[in-house]
């Protein structure tokens, strides 16, 4: 097997709070191949964003990455010091945030920021860097890139800013991009444009993409594979069609049934009862069992992530098998 673009193994990130330790990321493992798009899905507090931040070493205290390995193109990038990490970030792994103003400096012109991003990682003339920045803007569908290079972030619309953030993330042709809900704040028509550009770019340059979102529908249209997170763990993972059409974990099933769908107009949705558990003081065992109709005594010990169909794994004692959809 070829070396994956991104390999995360047993990642653990804890938040040390006054109330106790919150295991926001609790043993997360996954891999993403070159050119592949992985949708990392979960609700608020599931640990999906902290997973993304942990990969890039961006977790601030009281959070702390306490274990696990992250490999990019086979090289270990976890546990590096700040200087070594700075050489990785923006070069081999980039991040796109939900709010593009987290990427952009409000008091600098777009060209200043983009040229700086290139020159931070290689020795190249300003003129050449500028030409590359211009090209990157054109790639993400920005009309009149020469004018936009001279603009300040506040002069651009939300959709335009997010394009600039994506162009900046792509500047050094990273092997991996982590995108954290980048289209959540955008309108439907603008979201469609951005999903289109991102899809094109990943196919074209073989960039591996981790798309973090709460929105199953976006992942359905974009991703090759899905990983579903709940309370700090991946509970199910597999190809998009398998996970959405034949989910194994009752939580995945619950999420799918919660989304209003065209065929079920006016009917009742099947919500998941209760709400997500607090992470502090979360005991042993399956974290979903309090909300799960299939739970039994056996769920009191933590189930392992098992491959139950080719390529599709789930962390469940009582997985939904073929023919038991109505659970």
């Amino acid at each position: 097997m070829s070396i994956p673009a991104l390999e995360v193994d047993d990642l653990q990130t804890h938040f040390l709070t006054r109330a106790g330790v919150a295991k926001a990321v609790n043993g997360v493992s996954f891999r993403v191949e070159r050119g592949e798009i992985l949708g990392l899905v979960g609700e608020s507090g599931s640990g999906k964003t902290v997973t993304g931040f942990s990969i890039l070493g961006l977790v601030d205290p009281p959070g702390q990455v306490v274990g696990g390995t992250v490999r990019v193109g086979g090289d270990v990038v976890s546990g590096l010091d700040d200087r070594a990490m700075a050489r990785i970030r923006g070069k081999r792994v980039s991040m796109i945030f939900q709010d593009p103003m987290m990427t952009l400096n409000p008091v600098l012109r777009i060209d200043t920021q983009m040229i700086e991003t290139i020159r931070a990682h290689e020795t190249i003339s300003v003129t050449a860097a500028r030409a590359r920045a211009r090209e990157a803007l054109a790639l993400v569908g920005i009309a009149a890139p020469d004018e936009r290079l001279l603009a300040y972030p506040h002069q651009l619309s939300g959709g335009m800013r997010q394009r600039v953030a994506i162009a900046t993330a792509m500047l050094n042709r990273p092997e991996v991009i982590i995108a954290d809900e980048p289209t959540t704040a955008l309108d439907v028509t603008i979201q469609a444009q951005i999903l289109y550009e991102v899809q094109e770019l990943c196919r074209r340059f073989g960039t591996a993409l981790v798309w973090i979102t709460h929105d199953l529908s976006v992942v359905a249209s974009l991703a090759d594979r899905i990983a579903v997170m709940y309370a700090g763990r991946i509970v199910e993972e597999g190809p998009v069609d398998d996970v959405l059409d034949r989910p194994l974990h009752p939580y995945t099933r619950g999420l799918i049934d919660s989304v209003p769908q065209p065929g079920l107009r006016g009917g009742r949705l099947v919500p998941i009862p209760g709400m997500a558990p607090a992470l502090v003081g979360l005991g042993e065992g399956c974290a979903f069992r309090a909300r799960c109709a299939r739970a039994s005594m056996a769920c009191a010990s933590q189930p392992a992530l098992r491959e139950l169909r080719p390529g599709q794994r789930a962390r469940c004692v009582h997985p939904l098998t073929v023919g038991s959809h109505a659970a």
């Binding site: 309108d187 439907v188 529908s217 949705l269």
Partner: protein, 332 residues
Amino acid sequence: MSTAPILELRGIVKRFSTELDLAARLLNLLGAGYRAETVHAVDGVDLTIRRGEVVGLVGESGCGKSTLARVIAGIHAPTDGRLFFEGSDVAAMEGRERARFVRKVQMIFQDPMSSLNPRKRVQDIIGEAPVVHGLVPASEAAAYVDDLLAQVGLDSSYRRRLPHQFSGGQRQRIGIARALAVRPDVLVCDEAVAALDVSIQAQILNLFADLKSRFDLTYLFVSHDLGVVHHLAERVVIMYLGRIVEVAPTAELFREPNHPYAAALLQEVPRLDRRRRRFQPIKGELPSPLDPPKGCHFHPRCPHAMNRCRSEVPPLRRIAPDRWSACHLNDG
């Protein structure tokens, strides 16, 4: 479904203007030429909502859907045009008639935290208005609140708590109970489930469906989420930059949208059953509502735009029974 209109909007216009500050006015005396900017948030809307109906109001940011919702709920007075409730002009209402309208049309907001007073207990948040309106004697308010909490699926022991002690979904239930407390006929829900996680969102959508049949309510459901609107609404109104572009029964709209903007919007909604599709997005950005394009507001992004669209505003015309669209293409 009865057909008597409960709400009727005729030519509703809502403009917001900035006032020039002192410095700008002084500089204008010296010939600087600063001009007050005006946003045409709602630009001439006609709409009829029938009793017992669920109407979905859809559009992207800046299209005026929230402003229109607030005009309907009586929070904003329209700049121009008239709003009728059960056949009488709201602007002409006074005294008890006015109080009745205010009570009968209630609003539910997107962010339940900012719409609930953080220093009041649930008991007062829900129980105050019905006592003021004389629906319930103060001595029976506690029992009344308990009953409402049960209706929205909350335990009556929560009565003494403050809003910050609840999760987002629970807060939205409190917001719904607060609206129901004054026995309204119409609920105007502005992105009422947008801030909730999917699994909680489904719980609240089911609650809305239950309450409708239990209390005989009429809903105006404002949302940017076409999936939610499709699920809940019988009729859908689509707005673009302050104007209605299409009104249609939900099933018909989703089967065959008429307006090019409606078609583009439906085309681009991500759906669970659309896998790894190739997006074919409509081009361009949303224009600024400060300076909307002339003629049809959608013409710069429309694949079918003709010369006429650039100069002439297309009126909202009936194209089939119960279907309306504002597009020059329908003129043949």
